[in-house]
Subunit: 115 residues, 2 copies
């Protein structure tokens, strides 16, 4: 890996870790899964189907919003939450980088064995 790529990556690691952490809870992952169809839902809407209090869900949504995985907007007396796909896309960039490094390593190993 070239040094420039490594430092560019290193700068983004804490941010990526925050997004990974936001998704690292089954409840939050379920919320994201529910929102990934592009819908905008209120907190009480997002509550049903889950055996938790509204406040618990509310806290989870705040965690997701801090990581910018989700955006909220007040509409009258309810606040509507919607997915923000950008941070998740950045995760995919990270994963692709890991995979490509891994594949390169495999290829090098293979060519070494075959020599």
């Amino acid at each position: 890996m070239p040094a420039s790529a490594r430092s560019r990556l290193a700068r983004r690691l804490p941010r990526a870790a925050m997004v990974f952490a936001a998704l690292g809870d089954p409840t939050r992952l379920a919320l994201v899964t529910r929102l990934c169809d592009g819908s905008r839902r209120s907190i009480t809407q997002l509550c049903d189907g889950q055996p938790l209090t509204r406040q618990a869900i509310s806290k989870h949504l705040r965690v997701l919003e801090d990581a910018r995985v989700v955006r909220s907007e007040r509409a009258g007396r309810e606040s509507l939450y919607a997915l923000n796909p950008q941070p998740i896309g950045e995760l995919r960039d990270y994963i692709d980088l890991v995979s490509s490094q891994w594949d390169d390593a495999l290829a090098r190993l293979k060519s070494f064995v075959e020599k």
Copy 2:
């Protein structure tokens, strides 16, 4: 989303959450980044560059191993850690699913507006 796809996904959510959580810490993400070149490194090797105790790193490695992101193998008096790319690949599957749902939603919205 068809019901079959939703239930298949739901079954895998807790597992995916575990992997996300394992990557959701800057130290652990740095460890994974370091291992993604296919190398096998001992714990003390993985310690340098990080301002933590060996035991702290050791605990982080255990978390990664529990999530199967990493595999360890004893070699003499040291244990060598290597990346296991499979769980991270499963994360990509999840992300691709989210993205495709999102894209579908955008497309539907667009066709609705244009009608």
